[in-house]
């Protein structure tokens, strides 16, 4: 399946993401999920960014709301707008999961 996963929390209370697989997987960081793109806890990148085979996106509005900019994000992650998210879920992926 082609799956777009939304993460909106920094401290996650589920481990579904780690266990799921998809032929094509996009992880869209929104809300407090944006911290996975910018915070290096104890010097290490968020384990979310280690999900094998996934493409990573971060919503610019939510990033900048919290005081960060494109200069701060991991090179694995692409900045996107609301319009880009619409295109991702309508064109690039078939199913969504807000975890």
């Amino acid at each position: 399946m082609k799956l777009a996963v939304f993460l909106s929390d920094w401290r996650r209370t589920e481990d579904t993401l780690e266990r799921m697989t998809a032929d094509k997987l996009g992880i869209i960081l929104v809300g407090n999920g944006i911290y996975h793109a910018v915070v290096k806890e104890k010097g290490k990148e968020s384990p979310v960014l280690a999900k094998a085979g996934a493409a990573f996106y971060v919503l610019s509005d939510d990033l900048e709301t919290r005081g960060y900019t494109s200069a701060d994000i991991s090179s694995k992650v692409k900045m996107v707008s609301y319009g880009d998210i619409v295109d991702l879920i309508m064109n690039d992926y078939e199913k969504t999961a807000w975890l």
Partner: protein
């Protein structure tokens, strides 16, 4: 043009998830998609008109009304609303009230579903 149905459950103020949802709906409509929104759980807080716009609280009534005018279909879970004391006359114009089966039926023909759970 395709059809996107969103099920939104978190509350008006707090998580900013309703702010996200209406902005995403706006972007989808701008791209020519049909958008349906189902509000359940604490998201039925949108079913009380006359919310005041303060700078310290999420305020979505105005954007929601504009999106309804642009063809967004929005329906609120009737039982979830009544349990919170929101009656028919409290609902903003253009918002429908129905039972949960409305949402289930909408998913049938929708090309995409974005279901946003949580409080």
């Amino acid at each position: 043009m395709a059809e996107l149905t969103m099920g939104v459950f978190p509350s008006l103020v707090g998580s900013m998830t309703l702010d996200f949802s209406f902005r995403l709906a706006e972007a989808a409509i701008a791209k020519g998609h049909k958008v349906n929104v189902w509000l359940s759980g604490n998201a039925v807080m949108m079913a009380k008109k006359g919310q005041r716009a303060f700078k310290d609280y999420s305020y979505n009534e105005k954007r929601m009304m504009e999106l309804i005018a642009k063809g967004m279909e929005i329906t609120v879970c009737e039982a979830c609303a009544e349990a919170r004391g929101y009656h028919k006359e409290d609902a903003p114009e253009g918002m429908k009230r129905a039972s949960m089966d409305w949402f289930l039926a909408k998913t049938h023909k929708s090309d995409r579903l974005l279901h946003i759970g949580g409080e």
